[in-house]
Symmetry: C2
Subunit: 217 residues, 2 copies
Amino acid sequence: MRDLLILLELAQAGAHIAPCRLSSKTLATKLGVSQQTAARWLIDLERRGLVTRALDRRGQSVQLTKEGQATLHSAHQRLSSIFDARPRTLELKGSVTSGLGEGGYYMRQEGYRKQFKRLLGFEPYPGTLDVKLSNESRELKATLENLPGKRIDGFVTPERTFGQVKCFSAKLRGVRVAVVMPSRSAHADVIELISAKNLRKSLKLKGGDAVNVEVTI
Amino acid sequence: MRDLLILLELAQAGAHIAPCRLSSKTLATKLGVSQQTAARWLIDLERRGLVTRALDRRGQSVQLTKEGQATLHSAHQRLSSIFDARPRTLELKGSVTSGLGEGGYYMRQEGYRKQFKRLLGFEPYPGTLDVKLSNESRELKATLENLPGKRIDGFVTPERTFGQVKCFSAKLRGVRVAVVMPSRSAHADVIELISAKNLRKSLKLKGGDAVNVEVTI
DNA sequence: ATTACTAATGTACGAGTAA
DNA sequence: TTTACTCGTACATTAGTAA
């Protein structure tokens, strides 16, 4: 929860680039807590893989790990999406997951298909690629959930009602795709991608493959 | 401490622009805490003037105050200074304060003067203009304290030892100045400015005058 | 100087619940 | 349904130290 402020302080001391000598007392003063608490927080960050430390008799050197940097970067992107009005791109990281095959059922509905074609400019392949998001990206998904995106209206068939969804243009390994999600935020850690072709086949993806999705917002 | 994450969530829900209907339960889910805790946090933010709320029998509307927005904006600037490599400018607001006249003593030391001339390109007037920072700018000063700046080495005279300081180029009402501060962060809410001329005279400044200092970082 | 343990204290959390 | 109170418990923090 308070990771962000600690990492921010560490990064401002240069620990996002190189190992940085920083005593627990100094950090404690900057953060307004006791030396003991600052030390404990650092130990905790190290245990969770957000920083690495090197101890010696003179003190310690601290450096942010990739994950630590990713945490800060994610926060920066969230803030940027608030303060920068212009269109931006947001990078979600995750891995291909098998999913429930449920997405395909929806993508076969003509009521959705014709809207996708109009809004995205391509006829979607009747299936979805599900991507399980990494820890850092999970927070960025909240950004998407709060942005309007392109609205796909709901509709009614004799069998049932289909709810409103929204989508965002995106790129996956250079291929034009779209992120589809319910308009009412279902707070899941998985995003569903659609494209003109079968993404698993055309990109030769299999479950567990790491992927980056570049979403245009 | 955790204000940032709450404000971030509120802003992503649109509460930085307009009053935003948001139940404590919804917020609680987004933040991963209980409804009671989310409610308590909101009450606390309201008490400290970071948000305003409007209660009715259906629930509540929440909106960020200027101070709430400033808190987020300050965090955004700190993060931007980390991720945007290009030179940036940081704006500190405050008012002219009389100071202790102590700065002038330091600025008369030849050990400092020759270094200032070399690093800044001008011979500093032997006095400082002290600016008491506003609340929001105080946090931004932490950014400066953590940035390297231009290093002015310490030195020893027969009388005493002078510590290492650092400085940043800046502009004050269009005039080229520099912000000087100890390398070891003395967490004060005042910054000291030096310039080629007597700033009080050349800019006709007097105690209490509001000033903006544009620092190049 | 440091880091970081232990023990005592303090504070925050959420269950239950009222309005 | 909401918001938000009380209160017992659990966790976080710090003082005092050891290494």
